[in-house]
């Protein structure tokens, strides 16, 4: 398979999974969107789990490239990147939740989840290197963002409220974390 075809399949899979959920996605539809044959998709991604895992990694890698280049890279920026803002962040989030659900029952997906968590953890810890315990602070921020993000994603919470509450939680736990003044007021 050419690199181009593989990328087209993964890009199509990201869109379809985000729209329909991994259980409902039809491989034939992904193939059609990507302009390849169904058998080619089946050949390279033997199971739905494999397709989900690769699509998610692909999406995050692409997002990583974009994210590093955007904003001032400060912590406020990071908090934003962790939440399901409409567009690519929201789409990544839907795949992320699909991964949670699948990885509970399919251990072969857990390394994918662990890799993504690790990447996030490292990224956040770098952004918090001034704090007394960057690793702890990073783990806590990551968990808070997951907990708030899922609520935003399913429409149970306003994204600006989530953003403010996460920021407040970060600043209130000083001196564990040293932060500038909130930019969200």
């Amino acid at each position: 398979m050419t690199e181009g075809a593989r990328e087209r399949i993964l890009a199509a899979a990201v869109e379809r999974i985000a729209e329909e959920g991994i259980d409902e996605v039809r491989i034939a539809r992904v193939a059609m969107d990507a302009g390849v044959s169904t058998s080619l998709v089946h050949y390279h991604f033997e199971t739905r789990e494999a397709l989900l895992a690769e699509a998610l990694e692909y999406s995050y890698e692409r997002a990583g490239d974009v994210r590093i280049g955007e904003g001032d890279g400060g912590l406020a920026d990071m908090v934003d990147q962790l939440l399901p803002y409409p567009g690519s962040l929201e789409r990544d989030w839907i795949l992320w939740v699909e991964l949670w659900l699948r990885a509970v029952r399919h251990p072969e997906l857990r390394p994918t989840a662990a890799r993504l968590y690790d990447r996030l953890r490292t990224w956040l810890a770098e952004g918090m290197e001034d704090s007394a315990d960057a690793e702890r602070a990073a783990d806590r921020l990551m968990a808070l963002a997951d907990g708030y993000g899922i609520r935003v994603l399913i429409g149970a919470m306003d994204i600006e409220d989530a953003r403010r509450e996460i920021w407040d939680a970060l600043t209130e736990t000083q001196p564990l974390v040293k932060l500038p003044e909130s930019p969200f007021r």
């Binding site: 509970v104 029952r105 989840a113 662990a114 990551m142 968990a143 808070l144 994603l153 149970a156 509450e165």
Partner: protein
């Protein structure tokens, strides 16, 4: 008069625990009504008589499991005098002592995205969880153990943190073990509550 068979009150709980088991093992997508029926010692049509869809089975199974959980939790909390210890018990329940029914919850989270009925169930169960937390905060404030944090706001924060950690525990993340999750949460709660 309802045409419901008289044995309904006996069968329903059996169906719900069977449904919870099968969904935990295979996921809602692959849970077959006939498997649930077999495990409950009844027929697929009887299951479908009480629960029209699999989503309804998930909703009822999780709701009934949560009711049991809260009954037990409330009993335990009532026997603990210190508010701080009560909070520790809540945190232990939310972060990995096996109380948190990760696979059923994960189904609910993922499906709430596309199913309004399940979204409503999630909101209801989430509200119950936050109330349990807020009650402990209030209790601690009455006893003078906790500072003046707003109980509902703190409950939102703590439940979000615990949910995020519970996902990593459920996925067997090597960094976030149940022990570390509890430590992170309690250290955070102590700062927030000034205790």
């Amino acid at each position: 008069m309802s045409p419901r068979p008289r044995l309904g009150h006996v069968r329903r709980p059996a169906m719900l625990s069977a449904a919870a088991e099968v969904i935990r093992e295979r996921g809602l997508e692959n849970a077959r009504v006939s498997d649930i029926a077999e495990r409950a010692g009844t027929s697929a049509p009887s299951v479908l008589y009480y629960f029209e869809t699999k989503a309804e089975l998930l909703k009822e199974a999780l709701t009934s499991a949560e009711e049991e959980y809260y009954d037990e939790l409330e009993g335990e909390l009532a026997g603990i005098e210190s508010a701080r210890e009560r909070l520790a018990r809540i945190v232990a329940g939310g972060a990995g002592n096996g109380d948190y029914d990760a696979s059923l919850w994960m189904e609910l989270w993922a499906r709430a995205l596309r199913d309004p009925q399940l979204a409503a169930t999630r909101a209801q169960l989430d509200g119950r969880w936050r109330r349990a937390i807020a009650d402990v905060v209030q209790y601690g404030q009455e006893r003078g153990e906790f500072g003046k944090t707003e109980p509902e706001g703190f409950a939102m924060l703590l439940s979000s943190l615990l949910d995020g950690l519970a996902v990593q525990i459920a996925l067997k993340d090597e960094e976030v073990t149940p022990k570390r999750a509890r430590e992170l949460t309690l250290a955070f709660a102590e700062k927030e509550l000034g205790c």
